[in-house]
């Protein structure tokens, strides 16, 4: 029993990380139909900037704030200077631009920061919490809580604010949105900036567990993207459920089957779900009106 609980805790820890990364994909996708493959680099920038600003002697909370601001600016710049100029291009072309941006940011981080691994101190210490014979680190709950707060905020943004409505309008029909007076360019700017901020927060919260380096983004983004797809891309609760599901599958198959095949089992489940439900667990089916 303690064994099962330990596996579940591991799944929760890893799943919360994937969920937090997956959340970054939702807003940009909602506003522009673009899947931003530089999302992992936002996560990396959040962690690495915090580490290096803190190393320069700035207190940790301030360093984290600076990292979020820097990453938000990078997200804004990514849209304004790389994706917006290619406005006429298809989403596929825009996605390729984000892949290019991801390679560029990784290269830049190698030069600006360094190529070593770094860590941040956990928020509530590193003494594990013992429950029923299993141990979990407090930071796992921090990551999980962070994901929950971001889901709620995103929901409030979309449901309760004019800005959120404008994001939905831009996603639904860009031309119509413009006709009713929405500045769609600013809306997509905004969605990139907020996604970058979510990525940076994710990076800061997961670094005490995953550690960080200039290339940490690639695999985190891959798992986060898988989680977002599984949950239904564009859906914030879906991203969290997808992340937790993948984390849990990995942990349970590492525990009960074989650690060699845990990634394979996780991706097999994603495949099965997507074949059965092509829009993911909570994804909205797009209806074309004729």
């Amino acid at each position: 029993m303690a064994e099962l609980l330990q596996f579940v805790f591991s799944g929760l820890t890893v799943g919360a990380i994937y969920a937090l990364v997956a959340l970054g994909f939702t807003l940009i996708y909602n506003a522009s139909d673009i899947i931003n493959f530089a999302q992992g680099e936002f996560v990396m920038l959040g962690g690495m900037t915090t580490v290096f600003v803190a190393l320069a002697g700035v207190p940790l909370p301030l360093a984290a704030l600076i990292a979020v601001i820097v990453t938000t600016a990078v997200g804004f710049a990514l849209h304004r200077f790389a994706i917006d100029p290619a406005r006429g291009a298809s989403p596929v072309a825009a996605i390729m631009i984000t892949i290019g941006a991801s390679v560029f940011l990784r290269g830049l981080a190698q030069i600006v920061f360094d190529k070593r691994f770094h860590s941040l101190p956990p928020l509530f210490g590193s003494d594990p919490i013992q429950i029923g014979g299993a141990a979990i680190l407090p930071q796992s709950f921090v990551v999980l809580g962070g994901a929950a707060i971001i889901v709620v905020l995103l929901r409030l943004l979309v449901d309760r604010t004019m800005l959120g409505k404008a994001v939905i309008a831009t996603a639904a029909n860009r031309l119509a949105a413009r006709l009713i007076g929405v500045n769609t360019r600013h809306i997509v700017d905004f969605s990139f900036a907020v996604s970058a901020a979510i990525g940076a927060i994710a990076g800061i919260l997961v670094t005490p567990i995953t550690l960080t380096s200039y290339d940490v983004g690639t695999l985190l983004a891959l798992k986060g993207f898988a989680a977002a797809m599984l949950g239904g891309i564009g859906s914030a609760p879906g991203a969290v459920i997808g992340g937790l599901l993948i984390g849990m599958t990995e942990a349970l198959s590492a525990g009960y089957l074989s650690s060699n095949y845990k990634d394979a089992v996780a991706f097999l489940i994603i495949l099965v779900v997507l074949v059965a439900m092509p829009h993911g667990l909570l994804g909205r089916v797009k209806v074309e009106r004729v």
Binding site: E3, Q6, F7, F9, S10, T13, V14, I17, K115, R116, F117, H118, S119, S126, P128, A135, I136, L137, V206, I209, T210, L211, S213, D215, V216, L219, L220, A251, L252, A254, G255, S259, N260, K262, D263
Partner: protein, 384 residues
């Protein structure tokens, strides 16, 4: 796309023109293909800097046999195909006398046929035992092997009367290769591997694997062949699960960085490491002490970076080559090769090298020292 390609091409041409414009007169050309950029840059970068520093130093002292050295470095970015192309260029265009380098095992194995055919002495800086087994006439290497690290760990386990172990290894190239070597030498060393687990190179939680190890009856110690951040997370999870068995890490994480990343969980962890990492901890009568202290000082003064074993491998390779050329009093490839093979009692950063026609590495287990982490620092285990 086209415009970009032609810009790149002209930039490359310009660079080549600049390079070939440097003066060449009666110089000994030494080639090096290193992974200066890319995923193995942590190897190639210090290796390149080390070669440059020491070639300058040797030239400042008058060179070798009255001739200056000229170092030609190419960057393969950890790509074996690129490495092979550069190897061909070193042979056909640059006409080098000897080659030091090949940062990774992949690059080295790709280049071996080129240098074997051209009959040029090749001193590799990569780890795998396959480079020197079977012995190839023109191929040598300076770094210790994974197998030696396993044997060193197993010897330490035996001395503590621990014979039944669990292995948890990374699935990256380093982890896999070392795991295979450990499994291969275990029975000869009198060690039984009770259970085995693996983790992906980017996994962020290894508690399921460690829980299984914890619940396995008869395990007396855990060995973690791995590289990068994985072993640090294993060590943290080990503490999280309050496992009390002795934990052994590999030489792959023998750096201060590991202690920083693993934090207090690293206390009591043991691992094998080369002398260079504990230069200041070595007893004064250790024959390697002056060599590693000197190298560390030179490297840190010139680069302002912390020293690593990898740069040390390049130092050893260059010095073995230079001494062989001095003994041969010539740069004739065959004579230099014979002298490299006769290297005896060379004290390098990686250990004391005694080569022979059947051993083109020449290191024994004394190249490794066993360390234990106490109070956030290394402690040398006496007698190792």
């Amino acid at each position: 796309m086209r415009a970009w390609q032609s810009i790149t091409a002209s930039a490359v041409f310009a660079l080549c023109a600049l390079l070939s414009a440097s003066p060449v007169s009666a110089q000994i050309k030494i080639g090096a293909v290193l992974s200066v950029t890319g995923p193995a840059s942590f190897l190639g970068d210090p290796e390149k800097k080390t070669l440059e520093i020491y070639v300058d130093e040797i030239n400042a002292k008058g060179g070798v046999n009255g001739q200056k050295l000229q170092l030609i470095v190419y960057d393969d970015a950890a790509n074996a195909d690129t490495a092979r192309t550069f190897a061909t260029r070193l042979v056909e265009e640059d006409k080098v006398v000897a080659v030091v380098g090949g940062s990774t095992t992949g690059s080295t194995l790709a280049m071996i046929p080129v240098f074997e055919e051209a009959q040029i002495p090749f001193i590799s800086l990569a780890g795998a035992v396959q480079i020197i087994e079977p012995v190839r006439k023109w191929v040598f290497k300076t770094p210790h092997t994974d197998r030696m690290a396993c044997e060193k760990i197993f010897a330490d386990l035996k001395s503590r009367n621990l014979t039944h172990i669990a292995l948890i290894s990374g699935t990256d190239a380093f982890g896999k290769s070392m795991r295979d070597q450990c499994v291969a030498v275990a029975s000869k060393a009198g060690i039984t591997i009770v259970t085995e687990e693996t983790y992906g190179p980017r996994d962020s939680d290894m508690t399921p694997q460690l829980t299984n190890i914890k619940n396995k009856a008869g395990v007396q110690a855990v060995v973690n062949p791995g590289f990068g951040q994985g072993p640090a997370i294993v060590t943290r999870n080990y503490k999280q699960l309050a496992i009390t068995l002795p934990l052994y890490q590999s030489h792959g994480v023998a750096s201060k960085q590991f202690i920083e990343l693993a934090g207090p969980a690293a206390e009591g962890v043991r691992l094998p490491a080369a002398a260079i990492l504990i230069a200041d901890k070595l007893p004064a009568n250790d024959p390697q002490k002056p060599v590693v202290v000197n190298y560390t000082k030179t490297y840190q003064d010139r680069t302002k970076q912390a020293v690593s074993t990898f740069g040390g491998h390049a130092y050893d390779g260059l010095m073995i080559l230079v001494q062989a050329m001095e003994r041969a009093k010539s740069t004739d490839a065959a004579k230099v090769r014979d002298e490299i093979e006769k290297t005896k009692g060379f004290i390098g950063t990686g250990g004391i090298v005694n080569m022979s026609p059947t051993d083109h590495m020449g290191l024994d287990l004394s190249a490794f020292h066993m360390l234990e982490i106490t109070n956030g620092d290394w402690t040398l285990i006496p007698g190792t």
